[in-house]
Symmetry: C2
DNA sequence: CGTTCTATCGAACGCTCATTCGATTCGAAT
DNA sequence: ATTCGAATCGAATGAGCGTTCGATAGAACG
């Protein structure tokens, strides 16, 4: 039973890597089977369907993402918690190869109730940041929502231009972006209060 | 010959819409033919291949994107030009249904020299913003590059959370995000100069 | 009127896809 | 020693894929 679980995780590793590199629709069950060194029929012993493979992979990525960022941002002053969130989120995006792509590009290929679950989970993750920002600057909720969208955008886009050799290590980049965002966030709030 | 061009653009409209909604790999030539109300063989009178369809669609999107944002940001004070760029870019993303997705998700499916051309074009577009930011705060080029990445992230992510009824019209959102970004950009530069 | 060209089509080709079936191996339990 | 279940496989199934071929209708032109 423990051997089963290990093999199962290996299969998911292969699927995740392929989905991330080629996209869900461009990856065949034969690709996954080949990567996992087993026959196509053997693959179906672990995965009931291709959709299920995507669903499992998404769940696992959410788990890792949350344990890295949401968990690290649980205690302390709001500002430190935001910094921890950014560090965790960005750390996951930039140090797990391309697996973030599965959430960002392929999650939409989910259908049925799997998609409901994943979408709910993404909403929850998004709102954990909205709440954090509302604590930092408790004004209209609308502003927090927009700011969270802006911040997530900054972070999620980073993998497209980040390169270790030019942009320094991930910790430094996280600190930079946190600074950039917070300065704008506070100035903006100040400005809005002045003109209100 | 003018009738041909019009039909050709209609075909590209259909392809673009389908690629945007379902993704390139999940869209078949039969889907495109059905949407364009013609037979599959008839479709090949206008499109030499599915790859070419994607390539044409990408080119067209780049054209529209550049004429909207880069062109509007050609003259005036650097700050106004940045505001115009943001307005143009965001305007395209939020008012052309989902067609931005083709660039953001499906462009990677291009192969051969089409991909070279599209990638070069994207780089050029990216650097037009880097240059604009370097004009605003002419310090190390590295800082401009990072800031451009952050700003593009904020903008490109907007379609995932923006909803007209909650977040106001596009102009207002563009002004908001420009403000948010610029405040952070200037404070950050100030801070960097103070600690340097 | 005959020819040529444009735009279109039905039908097929060869291939790959996700999925399933029946059989097999092999270690563990009875 | 026999049984059993877990893990694996080769081969097939039916559907859909991108692409091509040969034909056709009609407009344009000599």
């Amino acid at each position: 039973m423990q051997a089963y679980d290990q093999r199962f995780q290996e299969v998911l590793d292969c699927a995740e890597s392929l989905f991330a590199r080629q996209g869900f629709h461009a990856t065949s069950m034969r690709d996954i089977a080949r990567a996992a060194c087993m026959s196509v029929a053997g693959l179906y012993y672990y995965l009931p369907s291709k959709q299920a493979a995507l669903s499992f992979v998404c769940e696992r990525i959410f788990d890792r993402l949350e344990s890295g960022s949401a968990a690290g941002a649980a205690v302390g002053a709001p500002r430190d918690r935001l910094a921890a969130f950014v560090r965790g989120h960005l750390g996951y995006l930039l140090t797990n190869n391309l697996s973030y792509r599965v959430l960002l590009h392929d999650m939409q290929a989910l259908d049925g109730e799997s998609s409901q679950g994943a979408r709910a989970r993404r909403r929850r993750y998004f709102h954990s940041l909205v709440d954090l920002l509302a604590e930092l600057e408790p004004r209209e909720r609308h502003r927090s929502r927009m700011a969270a969208g802006a911040l997530f955008g900054m972070l999620n886009w980073a993998p497209t231009w980040y390169r270790q050799d030019r942009d320094g290590d991930v910790e430094a980049l996280a600190a930079r972006l946190t600074e950039l965002f917070l300065s704008g966030f506070y100035s903006d709030a100040l400005l809005a209060r002045a003109t209100a």
